[in-house]
């Protein structure tokens, strides 16, 4: 029986040594016989085994434990590098209890179980749990960082503002010459249009007037509506006066010389263009936008044609509140 076992062991170790040798080093199969010579030659050496010293020791171990049990310790001390592979070979070998025992331990001590033990499971579990916990904490910290960063950006006005606004030199609807400094100290809503506008400017100005009233009753804040004409040739002071009178008592209408209007429109990035009709009448194509300016005449926010009076009022109140928060 022991001969059968030793034969199967031999075959297995032959196969393993061949594959291992081929994997681990590029030396030719026939180039190694010298290495195996320095082992004690009276142990069952077979010149079929062209192998590295370490594997030679393993093979010795397998071969010799079937024959002589006391060679185990010596060969195990030589097999320092291949503890794990040897233990792999011993799997499933039910024939010899010695072999099962002598797998692996780098110090020659027999390890009782295979590579997967309860201890290793426990360690693995601990490592996994530790990693999960650590990364979870990191993620929470990162998310908090993002939250606080986004809040900071919202409140900081110095994080890049649109370059809208600038000095202008115009005449108001009472004939008085005003510059942008006259509007410093109060919040302003500026709308660019012209009096001969068929439907859009009246609608927008009505919306603006309603919003101003709503802001006043909701929050008590004073916002000054301003109308600047982009059609200075037809919009005289009287014309503008009659026009703005109908919308809101606080609405201030501005007009001026075409050059000044051009400068103001450029400062506020407003497009306007006369559409030539036949006859003396024409319409002026212009961008439909309202600018909210803070008490220093700095640009805060713009509102387009799509907002209705309520949204406009709410938007303005929100901007004013945020501005106050930042300044405080």
């Amino acid at each position: 029986m022991s001969s059968a076992i030793s034969r199967s062991l031999r075959l297995r170790s032959i196969y393993s040594s061949i594959t291992a040798q081929w994997r681990l080093n590029n030396l030719s199969f026939h180039g190694l016989p010298e290495n195996s010579r320095h082992f004690p030659s009276d142990f069952c050496i077979d010149d079929r085994y062209r192998k590295t010293p370490a594997f030679a020791a393993i093979n010795f171990k397998f071969l010799c434990t079937t024959a002589t049990g006391n060679a185990t310790n010596q060969s195990n001390t030589n097999a320092t590098a291949t503890g794990t592979s040897a233990s792999g070979w011993s799997e499933g070998d039910s024939g010899n209890s010695n072999d099962g025992k002598s797998s692996g331990g780098p110090h020659g001590k027999p390890v009782r179980s295979g590579p997967v033990s309860w201890m290793s499971f426990f360690l693995l579990f601990c490592t996994g749990a530790g990693l999960v916990y650590y990364y979870d904490r990191e993620k929470k910290r990162h998310i908090e960082g993002i939250d606080s960063a986004s809040n900071a950006v919202k409140q900081g006005p110095s994080v890049g503002k649109a370059a809208i606004g600038g000095p202008f030199n115009l005449i108001d609807h009472n004939g008085k010459a005003v510059t942008d400094n006259n509007f410093v100290g109060k919040w302003n809503m500026i709308y660019f249009g012209f009096t001969h506008c068929p439907d859009i400017c009246p609608d927008e100005l009505q919306k603006l007037a309603a919003a101003i009233d709503r802001i006043k009753e909701k929050s008590g804040m004073e916002v000054v509506p301003v109308f600047i004409s982009v059609d200075p040739e037809r919009d005289t002071v009287e014309q503008v006066r009659e026009y703005v009178k109908e919308f809101h008592p606080k609405l201030i209408g501005l007009t001026g010389s075409p050059d000044e209007i051009k400068k103001a429109a450029r400062a506020y990035r407003v497009y306007y263009m006369k559409t030539e009709e036949e006859g003396s009448d024409y319409l002026v194509d212009h961008s439909i936008v309202m600018y909210l300016m803070d008490p220093n005449m700095q640009f805060v926010k713009f509102f387009g044609k799509n907002v209705d009076a309520d949204s406009l009022a709410d938007g303005v109140i929100q901007e004013i509140k945020q501005h106050k928060m930042v300044k405080a």
Binding site: I171, G175, A177, T195, H196, C197, P198, D199, P202, R234, T236, V237, E238, Q239, E242, Y243, E246, T255, G256, S257, E277, G279, D281, Y282, L283
Partner: protein, 101 residues
């Protein structure tokens, strides 16, 4: 300076036809005309208004009232708007009928 120039210009009449009363009258006439168009949409359009808008002879009266009330540029502007709206509606409606073809 500029102030005097504007003061002298004030002797010209203020264009009252763009002030609110005139505007509202214009809007009313305009709406009346377009309502007539909608009502008589099955009739054949024979008369021609501005910018290619056609309307049936039944709406001639409302058309005249409309043109009288509003400035001609405004009439053109509103006609153009109406045509664009009609075109978009036609586009949306047509998509329904062409499905499955």
């Amino acid at each position: 300076m500029a102030l005097e120039a504007y003061a002298s210009q004030s002797s010209d009449s203020i264009h009252t036809d763009v002030l609110s009363q005139a505007r509202l009258a214009c809007y009313k006439a305009r709406d009346a005309f377009y309502a007539c168009l909608e009502k008589e949409s099955n009739k054949k359009p024979t008369e021609s208004a501005y910018v290619g808008l056609l309307y049936p002879a039944e709406c001639k009266k409302t058309r005249e009232a409309y043109v009288n009330q509003c400035r001609p540029t405004w009439v053109k502007h509103f006609d153009r708007q109406y045509c664009a709206k009609k075109r978009v509606q036609r586009l949306l409606d047509d998509n329904e009928s062409r499905r499955g073809v």
